[in-house]
């Protein structure tokens, strides 16, 4: 079992889902309640990773991270080393790639909140922010947890982008899915099997949590 790779994937996923939580709460709020006519444009952009092959993202990342690109050169001048083949590059790639998995469940949960509660809160003098933190978020906790869990799990399972821009560095970019691929390539089927089984069990548990949450609404329990 490749514990170093597993730990790396867990660290990556934890960091990515935390960043995504911070991004997704305001973004989902805007997507749910905004009346802008060009909202569909942002909705489409956010959902793009759902349909885009990882190779497309991997290809553009590879070009934009290199020493020939403005981003690559800027990063080089700030940190003194290239951006490709670093943990940071995987975080950036994964935030893009898991964005819809966080935003969509959260936005769906926001949309389900009874609109009259928002009006009541506003009538009682609460600001938009206060209504958001004290009414909308507590009533959407189920969707927020689902978004967190799904983006965490999706990052753990990421493969294509990491294969293209990772460079397979132990402890830096050799994630668990890359480790499985390596074992298979090197014909070490027993090791591949042990790691793959663990991921299989993990993914199943994640989905149990997501669907279990749907079955027993926490929000109702919290209000009573």
């Amino acid at each position: 079992m490749d514990w170093q790779a597993l730990w790396l994937s867990v660290r990556l996923a934890a960091m990515v889902s935390t960043i995504l939580l911070v991004i997704s709460l305001p973004l989902a709020h805007w997507l749910t309640f905004s009346r802008r006519r060009w909202k569909f444009l942002i909705e489409s952009l956010v959902s793009l990773p759902l349909v885009l092959p990882p190779t497309v993202l991997g290809f553009y990342l590879l070009l934009s991270l290199g020493s020939q690109s403005p981003i690559g050169r800027w990063w080089m001048s700030v940190t003194g080393h290239g951006l490709a083949f670093t943990f940071e590059s995987l975080v950036i790639a994964s935030v893009f790639y898991s964005l819809p998995f966080a935003v969509q469940p959260i936005a769906a949960a926001f949309a389900q909140v009874d609109g009259t509660l928002h009006e009541a809160s506003a009538t009682l003098g609460a600001s938009t922010l206060r209504t958001f933190t004290r009414v909308t978020i507590p009533l959407s906790i189920q969707g927020i947890v689902a978004g967190l869990v799904l983006s965490f799990a999706h990052t753990i399972g990421e493969f294509g982008v990491v294969l293209m821009v990772g460079g397979n560095l132990p402890g830096v970019t050799r994630t668990i899915s890359i480790a499985i691929y390596d074992h298979v390539q090197a014909l070490q089927y027993d090791e591949a099997n042990a790691t793959a089984l663990l991921l299989l069990a993990f993914s199943f548990v994640v989905l149990l949590v997501v669907y279990g949450l749907r079955r027993r609404p926490w929000a109702a329990a919290a209000l009573s």
């Binding site: 020493s67 490709a84 083949f85 460079g167 390539q185």
Partner: protein, 259 residues
């Protein structure tokens, strides 16, 4: 109504079938090591011109193809960058022993972009230069040129000193691409790729062949091949002097041919 649909379908079948069937009969499915990426289009083109048999080539790491072929991947011919894989396929009954042909030996080179500012004429020693932050090699666990690269670094007692700079490509073509995009400053790749059109703009130096065990290239016809006659024909074709010359022009060392 039903009859009309039937006729429509029959019409489609008539129009579409002949082409598909001809294509299926003639195209050889070839699995080729990535170091052949530059020379294979030319080789396949000449083969088709001379024999009328077309070949569809897939590129990848030899180790990856080996795993796939062991599990029944539908290829007719396998070009491996390491003679060991075809030999193991033969031992397991997945390839035909009498067809095994070692067509060339590959050379390892150090490659860099022309604008990288790194003077690779200094040889492998340049890898310890602080400006060289990333060195791309193919994964030694399953890619033959990766094994050669690791052996050369060990031979020069550089492996431990540059280990933290190494990034591993999934095959030799991805390794080249890491350096070609400037994400790695240098790469240890095959001469055959360095001489190809995509990398010609860079510079390369050959690593002395005494630094690493020879990268012995071999082709074999697979037991599961659909069209064994054509597959064997391709293996015979490889022995032609003109093909040897073509391979040599892409930096391969061809057996039995004087330089």
């Amino acid at each position: 109504m039903g009859a009309r649909y039937l006729m429509l379908i029959a019409g489609c079948v008539l129009v579409l079938t002949p082409k598909a069937m001809v294509a299926q009969r003639a195209a050889l499915a070839v699995a080729a090591a990535s170091d052949l990426q530059a020379v294979m289009p030319e080789l396949a083109g000449r083969f088709e011109r001379d024999t009328g048999i077309s070949a569809t080539v897939s590129f990848g790491s030899s180790g990856n193809f080996f795993a796939q072929l062991q599990n029944g991947a539908p290829y007719d011919v396998f070009f491996s960058a390491d003679v060991d894989y075809p030999k193991r396929l033969i031992a397991d009954g997945h390839a035909e022993a009498d067809t095994l042909y070692e067509y060339a030996a590959g050379h390892l080179v150090l490659w860099t972009r022309a604008d990288s500012g790194i003077d690779i004429r200094r040889g492998l020693e340049v890898l310890t230069d602080p400006r060289v932050q990333r060195i791309a090699i193919a994964n030694p666990n399953f890619a033959p040129y990766g094994r050669a690269a690791a052996a050369a670094l060990r031979h020069e007692q550089l492996y431990d000193r540059v280990m933290t700079k190494l990034v591993l490509g999934e095959n030799i073509a991805q390794t080249a691409q890491f350096a070609q995009t400037g994400n790695a400053q240098v790469a240890l790749i095959s001469l055959s790729l360095a001489l190809g059109p995509a990398l010609k703009s860079g510079t390369h130096v050959e690593i002395p062949t005494t630094f690493y065990p020879p990268v012995r290239q071999a082709a074999v016809v697979l037991t599961a091949a659909k069209d064994k006659t054509s597959a064997r024909l391709l293996l015979t074709y490889l022995r032609r002097p003109a093909v040897g010359q073509l391979l040599r022009s892409f930096g391969f060392n061809v057996p039995g041919a004087a330089l």
